[in-house]
C-alpha cells in the first residue's frame, strides 16, 4: 500500500492556491463578474461549501483568525465541520467573535455586526448564476452578461408584481454591482443585501461545483434590483429577539411546542450572545430570570 499523502498547509497545494488567487484577483478587478476557475475535488461534498473552502484555503495565512458560520450560527453542524477542517489542516486560530475574525466564511447570512476594513467575508455559493433559473444554459447566460442583457430578470420581477402584488424573491435576491454585472448574492435572505453595499470588508464568493469565483471589493456599490414604484425592501419582524431583545436583526423562528407556540431569536448567534453579555435581555430571558 503506498504511503498516503500528508497535506499541505490549508490542504491545497501551492500551485492550486496560486491558480485560485489569480482567479480572485481577476474577480476583484471586475466586480460581480463570475471568473471560471479549476475547482478541485475537496474532501467534503459539492454543495457543502467546497467553493468557499477553496477560497478560504487560498487566502488563509498562519496569522489569520477564522470564523465560520452557517445560517448565521457558529455551532451549526456544517460550520463546525468546516472550522474543524481548517483547524486540522492549517492549525489556524478560530473565533466565534465577528469583530476578532480576519476571515469569515459564511453560508446564507452576513453577520449583523458591521464588517471593517481588513476583514474578508467568504460566501459559499451553490448556484453563482443569477440568470440560471431564467436560462439554464451557461453558453447563453454568459452572452447575456457580456451584452448586459438583463431584461429577462426585470421581466421576472415584474411578473412577480403582476401576479402577487410584490416581488416574491426573498433570498438570493439579485443585485447589480458597480452599475455593471447582475450578481447572485448567494442564498442570503434579502434582509442582508443592504449590508453588501459599500462594505468596508472584501467580499469573495466561491462556487466549487459550478467552478466560479466572484467578488465585491470594499466600497463597491451593490444595488438590489427593483422598480421606482416598487422599491426594494427588506424583511421586517414584528417582535424583537426573544433572548437579547435586538431589533432590526434577522430572526429565526423556533417552534416551542405542538400548540403553535413560537419564539423568534437572532439568527446571528454571536451577535445575540454578545448583546446578552452586555446586559440586554429579551422577553423570554427576562421571564426566565424573573422566575428564578
Amino acid at each position: 500500500m503506498p504511503d498516503l499523502a500528508t497535506y499541505n498547509f490549508a490542504y491545497l497545494d501551492e500551485q492550486t492556491k496560486r491558480m485560485i488567487r489569480r482567479a480572485i484577483l481577476k474577480a476583484i478587478a471586475i466586480p460581480g463578474y463570475q471568473v471560471p476557475f479549476a475547482s478541485r475535488e475537496m474532501p467534503m461534498p459539492y454543495g457543502w461549501g467546497t467553493g468557499g473552502v477553496q477560497v478560504t484555503a487560498a487566502i488563509l495565512g498562519p496569522d489569520d483568525v477564522l470564523k465560520v458560520i452557517d445560517q448565521g450560527a457558529d455551532d451549526t453542524t456544517n460550520a463546525v465541520s468546516i472550522r474543524a477542517f481548517f483547524q486540522k489542516v492549517a492549525n489556524v486560530a478560530v473565533t466565534t467573535k465577528t469583530s476578532e475574525a480576519t476571515i469569515i466564511q459564511t453560508r446564507h447570512r452576513i453577520p449583523e455586526e458591521r464588517l471593517k476594513t481588513g476583514q474578508t467575508l467568504v460566501y459559499q455559493v451553490p448556484i453563482p448564476e443569477p440568470l440560471r433559473f431564467l436560462e439554464p444554459r451557461e453558453t447563453e447566460t454568459r452572452k447575456m452578461h457580456a451584452l448586459e442583457e438583463y431584461g429577462l430578470m426585470h421581466v421576472k420581477l415584474y411578473e412577480d408584481i403582476a401576479r402577487n402584488g410584490h416581488i416574491a424573491t426573498t433570498y438570493a435576491y439579485p443585485v447589480k454591482v458597480e452599475g455593471r454585472y447582475v450578481m447572485d448574492p448567494s442564498p442570503t435572505p434579502k434582509f442582508d443585501n443592504p449590508k453588501m453595499h459599500m462594505s468596508e470588508a472584501l467580499q469573495l464568493f466561491g462556487a466549487g461545483r459550478e467552478k466560479r469565483i466572484y467578488a465585491v471589493p470594499p466600497h463597491t456599490e451593490v444595488v438590489s434590483l427593483d422598480f421606482e414604484d416598487h422599491p426594494f425592501e427588506i424583511q421586517h419582524f414584528d417582535k424583537p429577539c426573544a433572548l437579547c431583545g435586538a431589533e432590526h436583526v434577522y430572526l429565526d423562528e423556533v417552534v416551542l411546542d405542538d400548540h403553535g407556540g413560537r419564539m423568534f431569536v437572532c439568527s446571528d448567534t454571536d451577535h445575540c450572545e454578545d448583546r446578552r453579555a452586555h446586559g440586554h435581555a429579551g422577553e423570554m430571558l427576562a421571564r426566565q430570570e424573573a422566575a428564578e
Binding site: 499523502a5 497545494d13 475535488e41 445560517q71 474543524a84 424583511q235 429565526d252
Partner: protein, 367 residues
C-alpha cells in the same frame, strides 16, 4: 426555556464514531481485508478506479471498505485523494492495438483476425442464485491456452483499410489534450475533454442516456465494432533518454461503436465512430460511453439536435456523480434562514388572499 442547540461538535464526533462501528459491523467476524476486496469484489474496485480517475486497486479497495460498499462515496473519497497528487507529465497515448487481450468480441464480423475471445463474462450465464457459493466450495482452475503474442488488429482498422469509416479523431497532431481536473470546463468542449468527462461520468447516468438513444431519442444506428478488455503499457517520454519508457501496465476496457451515417455536404457516406474507454473491466460503461459519445457528435455531422443525449451541456454538466450527489444531498443541510424568509412571504400572501376572499364573501352576501 429554549436552549439554542449547542454541542454540534460532540454530536458530529459521536456520529462518526457510530459510523466507524457500523462500518466494522459484528466484531466476532473477521474484518474484510483489502486483498479480499481487490480479489473478490474486483468489478466494484474497477468502477471506483474508473469514476475516480485513479488507477490504483488497493486505494480503490480501501475506499470501498471505508465507504461501506457505497460506490459513489468510495469514488468521492478516492477523487479527493487524487486531487492532491502532483502531475509529473503526460503519458504517451496508450496503444490498445497492442493490448494483451483477455476478452474481445465483435458484433460486426462472424470471424476476424485474432478471433472472438469471450474471456471472463457474465454473458450467457443463467442468472440463478448459486447455492454452492453459500459455502466456500473449491473453484476449478480456468482453462488456459498459449497467449497469441502478435498484436490483435482492431475492427475499426479493418473498416478504415477500405475507407468505409471516418478517420480516428479530427484534432490536429500537435493538440495537447485538456485536463478537466485542472482547467474549468467551458462549453462547447473539444472531443478530448468530452471523452474525459464521460470516462469519469456516472455509469448509471450514461447507461440511461445510451439506452434513450436506442429507444429513439437520437437514434445512432450503432453496431459494436468491438469491445476489448486487457492490459496495455503506459509509457512516459523521457526527454533525457529520447525515447519512452514503460511505467507499467493497466487494464482497460475499450469499445468502438460503429454507426451508420448517410453522409452530408461535407462528409461522404461512411461509418462513424463512438468511442468508450474505461479503467479496469466495465463493458457496460464503455459501451454506454461510446453511444453517448456518438450522440454528442450530432452537431459535427450536421444532425438535428432533438434529444437529451445529444445536448453536450446537459449531458456533461450532469454526468459527474460526485457533483450530483453532493448537491442533491446538500438539501439536508440547514436552510432555515431562507425558509424563514419564505415563511414570512407565504404568510403575507396568505393574509392578502384571505382578506381578499373575505371581502368577496361580504359582497356576495350583500348581493
Amino acid at each position: 426555556m429554549y436552549v439554542a442547540v449547542k454541542g454540534g461538535e460532540t454530536a458530529i464526533a459521536n456520529a462518526h464514531r457510530l459510523l466507524a462501528d457500523r462500518r466494522r459491523g459484528d466484531r466476532s467476524l473477521p474484518a474484510i481485508s483489502i486483498d479480499q476486496i481487490v480479489a473478490q469484489l474486483g468489478l466494484a474496485v474497477d468502477r471506483v478506479m474508473a469514476e475516480a480517475s485513479l488507477y490504483d486497486r488497493e486505494l480503490a479497495a480501501l475506499a470501498v471498505r471505508q465507504a461501506r460498499g457505497d460506490m459513489i462515496e468510495a469514488i468521492f473519497i478516492l477523487r479527493a485523494y487524487r486531487t492532491t497528487l502532483p502531475r509529473f507529465g503526460l503519458s504517451v497515448p496508450i496503444d490498445t492495438g497492442r493490448m494483451k487481450i483477455e476478452r474481445r468480441v465483435s458484433a460486426t464480423y462472424k470471424d476476424l483476425p485474432g478471433g472472438q475471445l469471450l474471456g471472463a463474462t457474465f454473458d450467457y450465464t443463467h442468472r440463478l442464485l448459486d447455492p454452492s457459493l453459500l459455502a466456500d466450495e473449491p473453484v476449478a482452475d480456468p482453462v488456459r491456452k498459449q497467449a497469441d503474442e502478435s498484436a490483435m488488429m482492431r475492427v475499426s482498422d479493418i473498416l478504415a483499410d477500405e475507407g468505409l469509416i471516418e478517420a480516428d479523431g479530427r484534432l490536429p497532431e500537435d493538440h495537447v489534450p485538456g485536463d478537466l481536473t485542472r482547467e474549468p470546463l467551458e462549453f462547447p468542449l473539444d472531443r478530448d475533454l468530452r471523452l474525459q468527462a464521460l470516462a469519469r461520468g456516472d455509469e448509471g447516468f450514461l447507461l440511461a442516456l445510451a439506452y434513450s438513444t436506442q429507444r429513439g431519442y437520437a437514434r445512432t444506428h450503432p453496431f459494436v465494432g468491438e469491445v476489448r478488455i486487457g492490459d496495455v503499457e503506459v509509457e512516459l517520454d523521457m526527454p533525457e533518454l529520447g525515447f519512452a519508457v514503460s511505467l507499467g501496465r493497466i487494464q482497460v476496457t475499450e469499445c468502438q461503436m460503429v454507426n451508420q451515417f448517410k453522409g452530408s455536404a461535407n462528409n461522404p457516406p461512411q461509418f462513424t465512430r463512438g468511442y468508450g474507454l474505461v479503467f479496469g473491466q466495465s463493458e457496460r460503461k464503455a459501451m454506454a460511453m461510446s453511444l453517448v459519445d456518438r450522440a454528442l457528435r450530432a452537431e459535427e455531422f450536421g444532425e438535428d439536435i432533438v434529444a437529451p443525449a445529444q445536448d453536450e451541456e446537459f449531458v456533461i454538466s450532469h454526468s459527474d456523480n460526485v457533483q450530483a450527489t453532493g448537491f442533491v444531498e446538500h438539501l439536508k443541510l440547514p436552510h432555515y434562514v431562507d425558509f424563514q424568509a419564505e415563511l414570512d412571504l407565504v404568510r403575507r400572501m396568505r393574509a392578502e388572499y384571505d382578506a381578499k376572499s373575505d371581502g368577496n364573501d361580504v359582497r356576495e352576501a350583500a348581493e
